[in-house]
């Protein structure tokens, strides 16, 4: 089929790598997790990732060509054609679609759609190269956006944890951060607390994973601390890919040192000496801000060797994703960091024992890590009592969609959802009423208006209503919206983002999308039955993505029978 010259024999030895490429690769090759920064370096330099770049990287990092090519094709933001980096990519997530994102795509030459870019509290964002612009339909001028909107002071007057100091002057600079209590916790820890003391405080505080899984943070750190194998790692999951979630971006934009201090404390508590902050691609300005913050912390002796003169060493590496929702799943994220195909991993074993490079690793969400310095400063009991009733602590809710005042709110666990919607966020838009809200971004499916009145913001209550709180994204749909179409869009998102590894999700999301787009049997009951059957199979998926897709279709059938009937009628 091919000539002798194309036969590689598995070798890349005879590939000649240009001097300039070697320099580019050389900048990161000795760091841990070098592939993503190297791919970005080529992508930024060339405007796309071409076959010569792939060959050069494959040879130098000793990654098989087909593996590397497969990995590159997995990420939708890596352009594979010349000039691809500069093509405008418009967010067509569920909230932006409410605001005319599709019209913007049509009216902007060469524009492409991209999944939710995490700016649901802003006008429709678009990315050109590494710059974010926002625009309102119909298309007027593009406006450059550097930062996220600052969270408003708590409308309910509740005491906050992660937002407690975020509005302090110059909080995003190292000086401003230290002036408002920043690095007190780390100083106190390295000078007066043993790692197990830190873990004990967190255990007592009942802080749990705020990325959605809700695993007790103290216990996770203890597992990592006790797991054999070194070096250990801390991974901050800042791949905030869930549509309708934008809380981590606000934290990193306005309080970048809190994440860094949280990770450093995690390193101290677990015995890890390296950390990776895995940031989603769609936050280029946040990436710059974090780079600056990390340099500032390094210069001040707050990162690197011998932190605060304590002999404790912790290096932090910023790693940028390239467009793949699945990388928010911790197994995929670890594979992505390691330069592998970003498929979820089988569990067990868990990252606490077999994480980054199969060594003990704590993977924590941005919000969780930001809470840690506050809890250590103010005490476990203080944090616990922030919750209402039996619930401990607070949760950030990214509220967006058809509501008067969208934005990030820090709520006490147990707060009635209606209080947030009506009292804090101003209720529906004039002349409208709430029809539905999606929970956990899109992953929790849709709650109908009755449930919005009755549930409280905590997992047990929302699970009781057949949904989940997850990472805390809530998208509101008022009575002007077509909820079946919203479900179809959600399914299109899951089908686009399904990694393709496990059969139920790969095939099931596609089949549900076809049905929600009008396919399937004509008879309503048969149609419903098929959707429900496919949803059952999706529950067998290897990770949460497929399970969430089933939540969406199931919640549509269960909570919106009239809308469904109208759609099929």
């Amino acid at each position: 089929m091919t000539g002798q010259e194309q036969r590689t024999g598995g070798y890349t030895e005879n590939i000649v790598v240009a001097e300039t490429d070697l320099t580019l690769i050389g900048r990161f090759r000795d760091e841990p997790a070098p592939l993503l920064p190297i791919l970005h370096a080529f992508h930024n330099r060339d405007g796309f990732i071409g076959s010569e770049a792939i060959e050069a990287i494959a040879k130098e990092l000793r990654i098989p060509l087909a593996d590397l090519y497969g990995t590159v094709t997995f990420y939708h933001h890596f352009a594979r054609a010349e000039g691809g980096l500069q093509r405008p990519r418009v967010c067509t997530g569920p909230v932006c679609r409410q605001r005319g994102a599709l019209e913007i795509v049509e009216s902007l030459e060469g524009a492409e759609e991209m999944p939710c870019a995490g700016r649901c509290d802003d006008p429709v964002p678009l990315l050109i190269g590494h710059e974010t612009f926002v625009v309102s339909a119909p298309l007027h001028t593009l406006q450059r956006r550097i930062s996220s909107p600052l969270p408003v002071p708590n409308p309910g007057g509740r005491e906050e944890c992660v937002f407690a100091e975020i509005r302090a002057p110059e909080r995003d600079s190292l000086d401003g951060y230290r002036r408002s209590g920043g690095y007190d916790a780390l100083t106190q820890a390295v000078q007066g607390q043993s790692p197990t003391d830190v873990i004990d405080v967190l255990k007592e505080s009942k802080l749990a994973g705020r990325g959605g899984a809700g695993f007790p943070t103290g216990m996770k750190w203890q597992f990592v601390r006790e797991a054999p194998g070194e070096p250990k790692s801390i991974v901050c999951n800042a791949d905030e890919g869930e549509p309708g979630c934008f809380k981590d971006r606000a934290l990193m934009d306005h309080d970048p040192f809190a994440v860094i201090e949280g990770m450093t404390l995690a390193g101290y508590a677990t015995g890890a000496d390296r950390g990776f902050l895995y940031l989603r691609y769609e936050y280029p300005e946040t990436n710059t801000r974090l780079e600056e913050a990390i340099s500032a912390a390094e210069e001040a002796g707050l990162l690197g060797e011998n932190i605060l003169g304590s002999g404790f060493t912790f290096r932090l590496y910023l790693r940028r994703g390239a467009g793949a929702y699945i990388c928010g799943e911790e197994g995929s994220l670890l594979n992505s960091l390691e330069g592998k195909h970003p498929f979820p991993r089988n569990r067990p074993p868990f990252p606490t024992t077999h994480g980054f490079e199969n060594l003990p690793t704590a993977v924590n969400n941005v919000e969780t890590l930001c809470a840690v310095p506050q809890i250590l400063r103010r005490g476990a009991e203080w944090y616990q009592k922030l919750g209402l009733g039996d619930h401990a602590g607070t949760k950030l809710i990214s509220l967006s969609g058809d509501v008067q005042r969208p934005g990030n709110y820090e709520v006490p666990f147990g707060l009635p959802l209606r209080t947030l919607l009506h009292d804090w966020a101003g209720g529906p838009l004039p002349g409208r009423s709430f029809q539905a809200a999606s929970m956990a971004g899109l992953s929790g499916g849709f709650l109908a208006s009755e449930a919005l009145e009755s549930v409280t913001l905590d997992e047990p209550s929302i699970r009781g209503a057949g949904s989940m709180l997850g990472a805390g994204g809530v998208i509101v749909f008022d009575d002007s919206r077509d909820i079946v179409d919203a479900a179809r869009q959600a399914m299109a998102f899951f089908a686009h983002e399904s990694c393709g590894k496990c059969f139920p999700c790969r095939i099931g999301t596609q089949r549900l999308l076809e049905r929600l787009s009008g396919g399937g049997p004509g008879e309503l009951d048969a149609w419903r039955r098929e959707i429900s059957d496919i949803g059952d199979v999706l529950e067998l998926s290897a990770c949460g993505l497929g399970v969430a897709a089933g939540f969406v279709s199931d919640s549509l059938l269960r909570n919106f029978p009239e809308q469904v009937e109208a759609f099929r009628g």
């Binding site: 590689t8 098989p64 087909a66 393709g500 089949r511």
Partner: protein, 829 residues
């Protein structure tokens, strides 16, 4: 002792080793759990979800993937509930939705796990009606493998095999979600030497065999267990035949030899069996032309001529060349004919008497293997000396790679070429052809030298590895120990093994399929069956008793001597082709009074013969073969051509012996095997029944002790002149898997894979001589010249020119002309 874990599957208590996967535990208990992605020889991935079962846990019953879940003590598992069945049916309905269902024209049809599982676990009727996913239909991903992406269910067994075993992931998963495909990257073919195994692994018809495409339906073929003859590993294979034709070869499991893997040459290169040019009748030269005759006429002619020549010139004017490519029975009969009927020890084979070999081969392949579930290899360090498993012994290559990647094996390579296995970063010790002894001296010195050395050179690293090892194995091949310097190299290697310490063993690995058996049968000028030296009187007496005649004790000519000598008058050549090796030999064969060639095909040597006898090949006759770890294995007759009058060698020789007055007790191949078991003490008891379908290793303890040549002289061959202005490059040659040999080149589909007629140079030398890839050049030595094109590869040492043996139409013998070492120059044509 392994800890056992007891669990309950379907109310049945099962005890299995800890860490067993649930799916395997169920299999051990006789309970089948359907799978697509899971495979007992590959790492689990858990992607198809076909194997979900109910597992009771602290938080209630959950559906778990049994292929990724290790067993736990007290685990309660159910595989037969309604929920499990629902899941299986739903999953199959999903897979079938996208599957093209073109079973009638699919080669997998009839032996397809997807068909079988649909039958057994499927829903019967699927409610779902969809447009099928459209993807790229049948296209070649290599010269031998066809991929149909529509049939692919994305289990990635193929990808995992290439990654976990071959360490050459040439297939990848590209794109994402519903768009996900398995494909090669940028048109680069799957050229891993054992890539064809992915066809056997594919659970659907996505990957099919291009050579056997549409040549069979699985339910119509006859399956014969056999062993592969392409190299000395002796992989177990199955020959699938129909209507007298060999249709397909697949791998067969033998955990002592090849696990279940075979190489692509063994799998695909079998067209020669049914080639239209196969010799089908005896040919006798009449009026200068080879003419078909009856067997009687041909044999009577030979008997008459041999008798005459023997009377006129003596028995030692007659010689025979056997072959490592033919069976023990054929080789045994040939040497018995020469020693008893003709009365000479002029019997040898290529890589025979000219090579300083050792008698017992590798200790055991299993000591080098790392199966998916099993302990690490016993051997912890391997030194390959002048052997290139990637080109010569592909499944040994596979075992070594696996041992390095997963079994902690350390590899040291000494070779004239930077062979493929050097990619594992073990110390690479380069030498020039003829410089083997010199390298060994330095290595022995380093091993014997003081423990701590600042020197970080490869020699020092290699010496350190050997010294630190507890169970090292040094393997050398014929290329490193041929000719006058051979014994000195072998002695040097023995000295090295001794110096490296107690756990170090030395082994010689022949390369041809039956190289070991050929030696065991005594197809050597100075060794009798059982490899006993001629001067061993008791061995001679025993054989004289068995054969009922006396045996000459004077050593015969070696292969090379027979071909070089002017005194030879008659020569039997069985399964060898010396005419293609050297222009001088080609000429001297014509000077013989009688040349009898027994072969499968009209080779260059056969063209010069007075008599050509058509032989049956390995697929067509019963025979035993002995692999490189001296495992004797059976290859039963699998096909027969009713139109052919070809016969097995032992039968021709039996008749010839009879013509010449000797009566041999051979009625069939089995009776020859039975006599071998008497003639070769180590083969005692190795009957066909005892060999079974997995073969038996003969006891290394019963081999005659090797006589060492004693103290090595420090006298070396003179170092090759470093600066030879006229011929600036050292010629490096050796075997490549895909060469121009007939056993390979007759398979048309593989032509594109053949090594081109190239001389490969290091980029530095190519630049110096102003040569580009593809330049047409003439390579000259003092012996002759050859027209080739230039290839450039950093793996070739500077100062050397790499020209493999047996290139199509470009015999390197033209430059060597029977010698082993030459210097060459390369000039543009």
């Amino acid at each position: 002792m392994t800890d056992n874990v007891t669990l309950t599957i379907n109310e049945k208590e099962v005890s299995v080793p800890a860490r067993t996967l649930l799916v395997d535990a169920a299999r051990m208990a006789g309970i089948e759990i359907p799978v697509f992605c899971s495979h007992p020889k590959l790492d689990p991935v858990g992607c198809c979800r076909m194997c979900l079962v109910e597992v009771d846990g602290p938080r209630g019953t959950a559906m778990m993937a049994s292929c990724t879940m290790p067993v736990g003590d007290g685990m309660v598992v159910r595989t037969n509930t309604e929920q499990v069945q629902t899941v299986q049916e739903a999953n199959l309905a999903f897979i079938l939705l996208n599957h093209p269902l073109d079973c009638p024209i699919c080669d997998k049809g009839g032996e397809c796990p997807l068909q079988d599982q649909t039958m057994r676990f499927g829903p019967g009727i699927s409610q779902l009606i969809e447009p099928k996913r459209l993807a790229k239909k049948h296209y070649d991903i290599s010269d031998t493998i066809v991929l149909d992406q529509e049939r692919c269910v994305l289990c990635w067994r193929c990808i995992r095999y290439l990654e976990e075993w071959e360490d050459k992931p040439q297939l990848g998963l590209f794109e994402r979600g519903n768009e996900t495909i398995v494909d090669i990257q940028d048109g680069r073919p799957v050229d891993a030497k054992t890539g064809g195994n992915i066809i056997d692994l594919c659970p659907v018809g996505a990957l099919t065999n291009r050579v056997s495409r549409f040549a069979y339906r699985p339910w119509e073929i006859e399956r014969t267990p056999s062993v592969c003859m392409h190299c000395s590993v002796g992989c177990n294979v199955r020959l699938d035949s129909r209507t007298h034709q060999l249709r397909r070869i697949v791998g067969r499991e033998n955990m002592q030899v090849n696990d279940q893997w075979i190489c692509d040459k063994g799998r695909f290169a079998h067209a020669w069996v049914n080639d239209e040019n196969r010799l089908a009748a005896p040919l006798l030269r009449k009026n200068g032309k080879l003419t078909p005759v009856q067997w009687n006429e041909a044999l009577a002619y030979i008997a008459d001529r041999i008798t005459g020549i023997k009377e006129k010139y003596g028995a030692d004017s007659i010689g025979a060349i056997g072959s490592g490519k033919i069976s023990n029975e054929s080789n045994y009969a040939l040497q018995r004919f020469m020693r008893t009927v003709v009365g000479t020890n002029n019997i040898d084979h290529r890589d025979g008497g000219e090579v300083a070999a050792l008698p017992t081969g590798l200790p055991a392949l299993a000591e080098l293997m790392k199966p998916q579930y099993g302990p690490d290899p016993q051997v912890d360090t391997v030194l390959l000396f002048g052997v290139d498993p990637s080109e010569e012994l592909p499944i040994l290559d596979l075992h070594l790679k696996r041992g390095i990647l997963r079994g902690g094996v350390k590899l040291i390579i000494a070779h004239a070429r930077k062979i493929e296995l050097t990619r594992y970063d073990g110390p690479y010790l380069a030498y020039l052809p003829g410089g083997e002894s010199l390298l060994l001296d330095r290595l022995i010195q380093a091993v014997q030298g003081p423990g701590m050395s600042e020197d970080e050179s490869s020699i020092q690293t290699a010496a350190k590895l050997l010294k630190e090892s507890e169970n090292a194995l040094i393997v050398y091949g014929p290329m490193a120990a041929r000719g006058d310097d051979g014994p000195s190299v072998r002695d040097g290697l023995e000295q090295l093994a001794q110096a490296a310490g107690e756990g170090t063993r030395l082994a010689y690995a022949g390369l041809d399929g039956n190289a070991q058996g050929c030696r065991d049968m005594g197809v050597l000028p100075d060794r009798l069956p059982g490899q006993f030296p001629l001067e061993d009187a008791s061995a001679r007496t025993r054989l004289e008793g068995l054969w009922g005649c006396s045996i000459s004790s004077s050593p015969g000519y070696t292969y090379k001597q027979m071909l070089d000598s002017q005194e030879m008058r008659a020569l039997f050549v069985n399964g060898a082709n010396p005419a293609a090796e050297s222009p001088d030999w080609s000429a001297s064969l014509e000077e013989l009074e009688l040349l009898v060639v027994t072969d499968l095909l009209p080779t260059e040597t056969a063209q010069k013969a007075n008599v050509v006898l058509p032989a049956l090949g390995w697929a067509e006759s019963d025979g035993t073969y002995t692999n490189l770890e001296r495992r004797v294995q059976r290859a039963p007759k699998a096909v027969s051509d009713p139109k052919s009058r070809a016969a097995p060698d032992w039968m021709m020789l039996t008749h010839l012996a009879k013509q010449m007055g000797a009566s041999w007790p051979f009625s069939d191949a089995r009776s020859v095997t039975a006599e071998i078991a008497r003639a070769v003490p180590a083969y005692a008891g190795l009957t066909w029944e005892a060999l079974g379908d997995q073969g038996l290793q003969w006891d290394a303890g019963s081999a005659p002790a090797t006589e060492s040549s004693g103290g090595r002289t420090s006298e070396r061959m003179p170092e090759l002149a470093a600066d030879n202005a006229e011929f600036p490059l050292n010629l490096v040659t050796g075997t490549v898997l895909y060469d121009g040999g007939t056993l390979f080149s007759l398979t048309d589909q593989m032509h594109g894979m053949a090594h081109g007629a190239t001389v490969t140079l290091n980029p530095v030398d190519a630049a110096e001589f102003g040569l580009d890839p593809g330049s047409a050049v003439t390579v000259q030595s003092e012996q002759g010249q050859l027209d080739l094109t230039v290839g450039i590869d950093v793996q070739v040492q500077t100062g050397t020119a790499w020209i493999p043996e047996s290139l199509p139409g470009a015999p390197v013998g033209a430059l060597l002309n029977g010698s082993y070492i030459q210097r060459v120059k390369v000039e543009k044509r």
